[in-house]
Chain length 129, copies 2
């Protein structure tokens, strides 16, 4: 789980959305942010990361991976270079221009080490410009 | 939610377990760490925090409160002064002596601003001595 989390950052910052999607189980869910409609299954998740890794967005780790049972939680900052709102993979309104978003993600894993659900905790109050 | 999270830290570090329990709804659940049996309801939660705030354990925030929908996630370090294992409120084996534990908590809230579920993400790999 610890290796999968580090791979998530490395692959995201390399812009490799397809390799990130491969960290997930076929029937996984991505809920980003929590409260929005889940992305269900590999096709939706692949599309999500293909869009999310466009435009120079980078992730910066800000703490260790906290592992409990079959879950891993970790904090990070999203450095958004300046995506257009219509290009975002996220189903919430974002300001235009560069921004930094403080996020905590939780991954649940199956016995094969694949992510079955991702929940991203962040909202408008976590965006700084 | 942001104020409730800050109150949680302030009250914990003041050793006021009863006031922490009052942040919870009557039928709330505490799952600490994730994967162990939930503490269900106010009596169990009050007992949990009465024990947890004994022995000089202190919480140190290490990042912002990430708020999504009706949930708040946040990272911190638990500074354990040197509790005896039999005095712990946690249903997992801990080493003896002083230790620091990296934790991420997630709180779910109801419409009254009370915590309905707490999930604590940490495990043996997050303990340093």
């Amino acid at each position: 789980m610890r290796e999968a989390v580090q791979a998530y950052f490395d692959l995201f910052n390399a812009g490799d959305g397809a390799a990130i999607a491969a960290l997930y189980a076929e029937d996984a869910q991505v809920i980003d942010p929590v409260g929005t409609e889940p992305k269900l299954g590999m096709a939706a998740i692949s599309e999500f990361y293909a869009v999310a890794t466009q435009g120079g967005t980078k992730l910066e780790r800000t703490g260790p991976t906290c592992i409990a049972d079959k879950s891993a939680a970790f904090s990070f900052k999203v450095h958004v270079a300046g995506i257009k709102p219509e290009d975002t993979a996220i189903d919430v309104a974002l300001p235009t221009g560069p921004m930094i978003i403080d996020v905590i993600d939780v991954f649940d894993f199956n016995d094969d080490g694949k992510i079955t659900q991702m929940r991203a905790y962040w909202g408008p109050s976590n965006i700084s410009q």
